[in-house]
Each structure stands twice: as structure tokens, then as C-alpha cells.
């Protein structure tokens, strides 16, 4: 018995040593769930990895958490979607410089029954006001992510204060976009989501896109190198190569060519 345990221990040590020796150059990118869940990164990264031999390790969390992780130095590159927060990140010295990468848009999804009667509208602020007036269930990220920040900006413009109804018709899930869509799908609630996550989401249930096309629903993604002056262990050279590639004609073309069910999800717009 003891001999068996020791043998198992030795095997485990060997296996773990085996895990560690596959040391090729890599970078850690703090990014958001939308870029991962939509399949975009799985689609474009092999091109970069083949070209440079640099392995890209994606940590996909909300924008707020990604920025906090990057401030702690736990990442070499930040790829997120909340321009004001990104600009503050650079201003505070945590990032070197911010570059536009691509955009898509947010959409308001909701139950087909549409109790707030917002379907087909082009004005997101009017739609949110209608949802608040109808006190129809609304599932919010509530997690300081890029989408949550965008949602809060739009509520601000509407003049309604949904957080006053928190726990009533306004439900803050405090979790990722997919988890929030699962909640919305389960209870027939409205939700603001980025289009990429929505398109690739597999549990739409009774939900459909109700409001889209408002310029205020524009969703810009940016990329920033974490400042090596703040965190000397940042893999700055490899990280910069990734940023250069993403904003290069090759990287931009790769983003533009990604399709899900025949539809383009991200639109490159690096300058």
C-alpha cells in the first residue's frame, strides 16, 4: 500500500516536471470574455503564434478585473473594451500606450413577449426608460466589466436609477456575460450584451435582439502594453510584437475574416 503511494507520488512528480519543461516564449494577455467566448482569439492567435513562435496565454475576465490584474502586473498585454477606463490606466502610468484594435456593438436582448414594448426601436436610451417604467425584469452584469460600464453610462443618460430597484426588477448577477445571458434566458429578462457573445451564445431560449443600431451602442476594443517601468518582469518585447501584429494589416485582416454562422463579429479599425 505504502509502496503504491510512493510509486504514485514519483509518477506525479515526473508528470509535473514534464508540465514545466515545455518552456517556449509566451505572453499573458488579460482580456475579456467576449473575445474568448466568441471564438475570435482561438481563430486569430494560431496565425500570430506561427509567425513569431510566441505562445499567447489568454486570461478572460471582465474588463474591470482585467485592468486590476494588469495593475498588479499579472499580465503583459491588456486587450479590453472600455475606453475611459483604458485611458485612465495609461494616464496613471500602468500602461505604455493605448491603440484601437477593433469594434463591434452592443445590443439589447429581451423576451419575445417584450413587456416593455421596445422591439424595433433605434433609441437605446428610450428603450431603457421604457424597461424601467414597465418595471420589466432586467439582468445586469453588475461586475464593473466593459459591458457593465457601458450599461451604466446608458442608464445615466436615461435618467432612470435602476440600482434603486436592485433585487426587484433590476437583477445584478455579478458575473460574466454568458452567465448573465443564462439568467436572462431563464427568467425572461432584458439584458445588454455585446453582439459577439450574443451571436455565439448557445442558450438563447426565448430571447431575441430587440434594439440595435444606436450609435451609442458602439463598442471599441483597445490594446495596451503593461508598463515595464512599473513591473520589470513584464515581457515587453514579446508583448509589443503582439500589439504590433494585432494592429498590422495581417492582424487586422485576420480579425475581419472571422465569421460565426456567416456573420462578421469584429470590425478592425486600428489607425
Amino acid at each position: 500500500m505504502i509502496r503504491d503511494i510512493i510509486r504514485a507520488a514519483l509518477i506525479a512528480v515526473g508528470l509535473t516536471a514534464g508540465l514545466a519543461n515545455a518552456e517556449e516564449p509566451f505572453i499573458v494577455v488579460q482580456s475579456t470574455t467576449s473575445t474568448q467566448n466568441s471564438g475570435l482569439l482561438d481563430y486569430i492567435l494560431p496565425g500570430f503564434e506561427a509567425e513569431t513562435g510566441i505562445d499567447v496565454r489568454i486570461v478572460a475576465v471582465g474588463t474591470g478585473q482585467a485592468i486590476r490584474n494588469a495593475i498588479n502586473g499579472d499580465g503583459d498585454v491588456l486587450l479590453v473594451h472600455s475606453k475611459p477606463a483604458e485611458e485612465k490606466f495609461v494616464e496613471d502610468g500602468w500602461g505604455v500606450e493605448r491603440f484601437d484594435v477593433m469594434y463591434n456593438d452592443f445590443v439589447l436582448v429581451g423576451p419575445k413577449a417584450d413587456p416593455a414594448k421596445v422591439k424595433g426601436g433605434k433609441d437605446i436610451v428610450a428603450a431603457l426608460t421604457a424597461v424601467a417604467n414597465a418595471e420589466a425584469p432586467f439582468a445586469s452584469r453588475g461586475d464593473d466589466s466593459g459591458t457593465h460600464k457601458a450599461e451604466m453610462r446608458l442608464w445615466g443618460e436615461s435618467g432612470a436609477d435602476p440600482t434603486a430597484a436592485s433585487g426587484a426588477w433590476y437583477r445584478e448577477t455579478g458575473s460574466g456575460m454568458g452567465a448573465t445571458l443564462n439568467v436572462a434566458s431563464g427568467m425572461g429578462a432584458y439584458a445588454l450584451t455585446d453582439r459577439a457573445t450574443w451571436q455565439s451564445f448557445g442558450n438563447k431560449g426565448n430571447l431575441e435582439v430587440l434594439v440595435e443600431g444606436d450609435p451609442r451602442l458602439f463598442n471599441q476594443y483597445g490594446v495596451i502594453l503593461v508598463n515595464p517601468e512599473k513591473h520589470p518582469r513584464v515581457r515587453a518585447a514579446a508583448g509589443q510584437r503582439f500589439i504590433d501584429w494585432l494592429t498590422s494589416p495581417n492582424g487586422q485582416a485576420a480579425i475581419a475574416s472571422y465569421r460565426l454562422d456567416g456573420e462578421q463579429l469584429f470590425f478592425p479599425n486600428a489607425k
Binding site: 500500500m1 509535473t16 508540465l19 514545466a20 499573458v28 467566448n37 448557445g202 442558450n203 438563447k204 518582469r233
Partner: protein
């Protein structure tokens, strides 16, 4: 939810038809959790046994504390390990965050209290049972620890399995310190969380079924081993 059953069975078939990526994930889950349990055994068993036989002021408090640690929320453990291993943390220079080693560390923190608390309970009972024999042989309390551990070995296997169960099923800690990075730190539970967030509920459930299958297989294997050991023990006696 229409066609969920057929979706589930097709997902299960897809997985079982030797999807290489999935089996790499299964293997990583096993490596991380088995290694974590072994380290926990080397720490938890001596500590638990020592607490069972030693007598010192504050021992009861220590035992209560250790038992309470069995219910330590994995997310909190993940957060603590993250803060230690972060580049801004005290152990940042080791560059362990977002590696399988970080996940092993988090699971060791989760599993060691279980192993120690269960060992303490088993050994304390045995020590009472054997106290006169040990005393007549002139064995000191602490020196009796290896003997008691050896005698309790079959019960201790159950302690290790309880620890393994917690480690392999846990998601809150490993997703924080591992980062759920594809091909690097993605394990069964974080894959299930990811597929759920993509709304691929049938696939997530099929992965869950595999995880349960693995847990059953490991338990069956270990219980066969210990049964055989028990029978051998009887034959020698």
C-alpha cells in the same frame, strides 16, 4: 430545452470518441489534483497524528480551527494564493501565477485541512484503543505516531479520497490562480464553467458526467487496492 437529451448524448459521444484536446484537459485535472492530494498527505497526516497524540495547551482550539478550515471557501483560497503569487505579491518573483503549480498550491491549501482533521480523528481513536499496549512497550506518545499511522492506513485512504474529491471538483480557486488558459491551465471544472458561460449547457453537462465518471473510477480503484491490502493483511496475521 427541446432536444436537450439528444444534444446531451451527441455531446457525450463527441467527447468519448477520443477528442485529444478533451483528454489533455482530463489528464491535467488528474495530474494537478493527484499531486495536490499527495502533498497534502505528507503535510496533513503527520500534523493530524501529532495533534491526536500530543497534549499541549491550546490543542482543542487548534483542532476546532483545523476542522473549520475544512469549510474554507475555495474562492477565498484562490484569492489568497493569487495575492501571494501575483507579480505585486511577496512570491511574485517565482512567476508561478497562471501555471499548474499555482493550481496545485491552491488545492493543497484546500485539501490539507481535510486530511489533517480526518487523520486526527482516526488516530485519536486508535491511540486510545492501543494506549495500554504502547505504554507497556515504553513507546512515547510522539514516537507512536508512525505505528498508529501505519495501523490506520485503510481509514486514511478514505481521508485522501475525501481530499481528492474536494480537489478535483473545485473550480473557484483554480480559475483565479490558473486563469483557465487553454492548453496550459484549463481543467475539467474550468472547462465546464466556460462552456456554461457560452450557453453550451448540453456540452457542459456531458463534461460534468465525465468528471463524475473519473471520480467513480478513482474511488473504485483505490477501494479495490485497499481491499486487497486488507485481505493480504489478514493472510499474514
Amino acid at each position: 430545452m427541446q432536444g436537450f437529451a439528444s444534444e446531451f448524448s451527441s455531446a457525450l459521444a463527441l467527447i468519448l470518441n477520443g477528442d485529444a484536446e478533451l483528454w489533455a484537459i482530463v489528464l491535467l485535472s488528474l495530474k494537478v489534483s493527484v499531486f495536490a492530494v499527495l502533498i497534502s498527505a505528507f503535510i496533513g497526516m503527520p500534523v493530524g497524528a501529532a495533534l491526536a497524540v500530543a497534549r499541549f495547551p491550546g490543542r482543542r482550539i487548534l483542532i476546532v480551527f483545523m476542522n473549520a478550515l475544512m469549510g474554507f471557501p475555495p474562492v477565498v483560497v484562490g484569492l489568497l494564493v493569487y495575492l501571494m503569487l501575483s507579480r505585486s505579491g511577496p512570491l511574485g518573483v517565482l512567476e508561478l501565477l497562471y501555471t499548474p503549480t499555482a493550481m496545485i498550491i491552491a488545492q493543497v491549501v484546500l485539501v490539507t485541512p481535510i486530511v489533517a482533521a480526518l487523520t486526527r480523528q482516526v488516530v485519536e481513536m486508535l491511540a486510545e484503543e492501543y494506549s495500554e499496549q504502547l505504554r507497556s512497550l515504553g513507546v512515547s506518545r510522539l514516537a507512536s505516531v508512525p505505528v498508529l499511522l501505519w495501523d490506520a492506513r485503510l481509514a486514511l485512504v478514505t481521508a485522501l479520497l475525501a481530499g481528492f474529491g474536494r480537489a478535483i471538483a473545485e473550480v473557484g480557486a483554480v480559475i483565479i490562480v490558473g486563469g483557465n488558459i487553454n492548453h496550459v491551465t484549463r481543467v475539467m471544472t474550468t472547462t465546464i464553467a466556460l462552456e456554461t458561460s457560452k450557453g453550451n449547457l448540453a456540452l457542459a453537462l456531458a463534461l460534468g458526467a465525465i468528471l463524475i465518471g473519473i471520480a467513480v473510477a478513482v474511488n473504485a480503484m483505490v477501494s479495490t487496492l485497499s481491499l486487497r491490502a486488507e485481505q493480504e493483511g489478514l493472510r499474514h496475521a
